[in-house]
Symmetry: C2
Subunit: 221 residues, 2 copies
DNA sequence: CTCTCCATGGCACCGAGTGCCAACGCAAAC
DNA sequence: GTTTGCGTTGGCACTCGGTGCCATGGAGAG
């Protein structure tokens, strides 16, 4: 779900010399991970609503006050994966060579992010919790708007046309998020390890649904 | 955004004889509307986070405790439109004659719900608040999962095949939600009154994006 | 050794949300 | 008219989420 093995904090590089994330930053990351592990563990054991912030802080070995220094809320913990996944998405879109068409970027990005996220153990842990507890699911969803907007902007960056109110980027963003969501869900529900195969199948279904109506010779489905 | 001119409460019909919603039920509906108006008014004036439940209750003329009897939370107020909009969607899908293909149902449903929602003044009011305050937007989003699941089930009902793990309904549900979201956003941002035209334009763009890659003779975009 | 910076912890405070109980209104039954 | 019963309401107390403020403590620079 996130590009780095640990949860990304805010800014990392302060001194341009020290690209190795400052001892200080790594200590913070350690605490951050400890809180994350404690929280997800408790969520899985006791449930999302039943787990209080005090529980998490106690298991992580920090004070309640410090918890809020690392995560702005309990929901933020669950949503963190989502926002990282947003930066991954925009990164992947931006990284595509300009020779590719928008549709190709769309397909390629979905494939890449799906594989990348499926490789992270945290992804499965988050999905387990989200599947069990609606409140946790809601916490993630509530941040999806930002991600979708970011993705739309990334697509818009490839569309240097002067057309201001072109809806193409927004549509592509919605498509990207939706297809990825279905992909993850299917990958999680049935234990199939090959997430690319699932994504391909979804692309095929999508094409069948949208395009079969457009051939004037073949009227009905 | 909702099929009835007033916000739907839970169950309405108790006695099969009295289809006119029981004097009691209508009184409840009155209070419910009063709270809703007070809340949205305050949200627009003071902001979503800045408005406390006490403020809403006081303006609506009920006690703080009663507020929570009608709406389970402040977020629930904003999300209420979304869930009604979910029942409208499933209703529209189910009402389609079985002679139509899934794609036709998809397009028809989006068109119908878009027009229907655009006709309601509440829709615009909700969108104004959601556009201004991210927290309100998040409150709506957090319930979108339920709606999407309901829509997926409605599509699945038309697919009486024994194929259990067919992803078609989920994909269609995601498509429906995404396209509607873009439609509403565009309709709201630019003041264009004809929402059907916007939806048609989006369908066209969608077809262009997905289908143009499938012709093997026309390689590049 | 001292001064400073920063992370941490503790405390007080406010708002959200819930359980519980008493009071009120209302309609049917006596 | 009075009584009985039911549903709605309001007030109270409590827990938990989240924030601002300040004191402490440790590590590094002078």
């Amino acid at each position: 779900m996130n590009s780095s093995p640990s949860i990304n904090a805010g800014a990392v590089a302060e001194h341009p010399a020290a690209m190795v994330p400052t001892l200080q930053a790594r200590k913070q990351q350690l605490v951050r991970d400890a809180i994350w592990d404690a929280a997800t563990g408790l969520f899985a054991e006791k449930g999302f609503d039943e787990t209080t912030v005090d529980d998490i802080a106690q298991r992580a070995g920090v004070s309640r006050r410090s918890f809020f220094r690392y995560f702005s809320s309990k929901s933020d913990l669950m949503a963190q994966g989502i926002v990282n996944y947003g930066t991954d998405l925009t990164g992947a879109i931006d990284a595509f060579p300009r020779t590719h068409s928008l549709s190709e970027v769309f397909r390629g990005t979905v494939l890449q992010i799906a594989q990348q996220s499926a490789a992270h153990p945290r992804t499965r842990k988050i999905m387990e919790i989200a599947a069990k507890y609606p409140a946790a699911r809601a916490a993630q969803l509530s941040r999806m708007a930002e991600v979708q907007d970011q993705v739309a902007e990334a697509f818009a960056r490839r569309l240097r046309k002067g057309s201001e109110d072109d809806l193409t980027p927004s549509i592509l963003a919605g498509l990207t998020i939706s297809v990825l969501a279905v992909t993850f869900r299917s990958w999680f529900d049935q234990g199939q390890p090959d997430i690319s195969a699932i994504a391909d199948q979804i692309f095929a279904t999508l094409g069948r649904l949208i395009c079969d109506e457009r051939q004037p010779d073949k009227q009905r489905s």
